[in-house]
């Protein structure tokens, strides 16, 4: 089972309970992540009763086209799959989600800081400094083989209430209470 996929879909469903038709956007170029998500979806869909439509995009124009498709097909919510390129296009996502009036769930908080509705994932910002420390140690002679791989283990739920208001969504208080951060 794709527990993270399931959890993220469950949270999205909790925030937008009326949404049944969910568009899932993945990047086929991100083979590992996309394989995992696509493999998990049928089971998640069965378990939750949600109708899942899978859309694929690897470029900015394909992202644009995916939004056109999901509007045409009347998707009620969007699940953005985990992908580094998608993360880099967060402003485009947020802009398109706003103009398409579609509630969207993102894998990382940066998108929500940019105006996305919600995210659930691990906090990775601190990793940059940590890895810089490793870089320095290796330059001073340490061997990568001896330096344990560090992990981001903290999962966080971030919700943007301003975006929710703009979409006319009322955030269930129970969900709001569980959010690690609420962006007003």
């Amino acid at each position: 089972m794709g527990e993270l996929t399931a959890k993220r879909l469950a949270l999205l469903h909790e925030l937008v309970p009326k949404a049944v038709r969910i568009a899932v956007l993945v990047n086929p170029a991100s083979i590992q992540a996309t394989d995992a998500t696509l493999r998990d979806l049928p089971e998640v869909a069965r378990a939750t009763g949600l109708q899942i439509q899978v859309l694929k995009a690897s470029t900015r124009s394909e992202i644009e086209a995916a939004f056109a498709t999901l509007v045409r097909d009347r998707a009620e919510a969007l699940y953005v799959g985990g992908d580094t390129f998608f993360q880099s296009r967060r402003v485009q996502f947020v802009t398109l989600a706003a103009s398409s009036r579609i509630p969207a769930s993102y894998p990382t908080r940066e998108a929500v800081e940019a105006g996305g509705l919600m995210s659930y994932g691990t906090d990775r910002v601190d990793m940059w400094r940590q890895v810089a420390a490793y870089t320095g140690q290796v330059l001073k002679g340490a061997k990568p083989a001896d330096l344990p791989v560090v992990q981001s283990t903290k999962f966080e739920l971030v919700i943007n209430t301003q975006t929710a208001r703009a979409l006319g969504l009322e955030i269930p208080p129970t969900l709001l209470a569980r959010a690690d951060e609420v962006i007003e």
């Binding site: 527990e3 992540a33 998500t37 998990d40 320095g136 061997k143 990568p144 083989a145 344990p148």
Partner: protein
């Protein structure tokens, strides 16, 4: 007389060596090859943290380190070529951002050290053999990795509260993940974990079908847990 001169000379030059060596060391500029799966604008603020971390250890860009950036702008196929180029430039270390970048760097070299900044499950993707002892030329940070399986098991229970028997698919490379996950599990009694130790990845599809008849959920920690980049 000549002998004494020689000794003096030798002594003098020997004494001078450490200074020369120190000066050479101070002048040596380390080169970091930075391989980014996306674009500079997407990570600019986080890159400042990277520079701060380097500064903490005395490495200042432009003074004693140079960073050669290569950004694939989301076109992952270019990463292979960029990684090879940085290796040819004889960088001292490769820093990678994004799983596709780490995979490309690993493909380009087995000797140049690689530090990965944000990579998905580094064990499941085969980037390292173990988190505690990466073993080869790669280290850095990862997310959604084996030790997180305890957490993912918790998420699984939350998403499917009715699940009472969970089968855990194990292969040798995933063994560590489950050993770590079991004692940390928040639901050690609510969930019955079934081991399937001899499973090979190639046969997992077939076996997971047969497993489902015995359990309400099949959980294969590393392969299914890496749902994010």
């Amino acid at each position: 007389m000549k002998r004494r001169e020689f000794i003096t000379l030798l002594g003098g030059s020997a004494a001078a060596w450490p200074r020369v060596a120190r000066a050479q060391q101070a002048a040596k500029i380390a080169r970091i090859g930075f391989l980014g799966a996306t674009s500079l604008s997407a990570v600019e603020d986080r890159l400042d943290r990277f520079r701060t971390g380097l500064r903490d250890l005395g490495y200042i860009e432009g003074q004693n380190i140079l960073i050669d950036f290569r950004w694939a702008e989301g076109r992952y196929a270019r990463l292979v070529e960029f990684a090879a180029e940085l290796v040819r430039l004889k960088v001292d270390i490769l820093a990678t951002y994004g799983t596709p970048a780490t995979l490309a760097a690993k493909q380009a070299t087995t000797t140049v050290p690689i530090v990965m900044i944000v990579s998905g499950d580094a064990v499941a993707t085969g980037i390292v053999s173990s988190l505690a002892r990466p073993g080869a030329n790669v280290t850095g940070s990862t997310f959604f990795s084996p030790e997180l399986n305890a957490k993912s098991l918790e998420l699984l229970k939350e998403a499917y509260p009715s699940a009472s028997r969970i089968a855990v698919l194990l292969t040798r490379s995933w063994l560590t993940s489950c050993v770590v996950a079991w004692p940390l599990s928040p639901h050690p009694r609510a969930v019955t974990l079934l081991r399937w130790p001899k499973l090979r990845p190639r046969r997992s599809r077939l076996s997971s079908a047969s497993l489902k008849t015995q359990s309400s959920l099949v959980w294969s920690p590393a392969s299914r847990g890496r749902a994010e980049t």
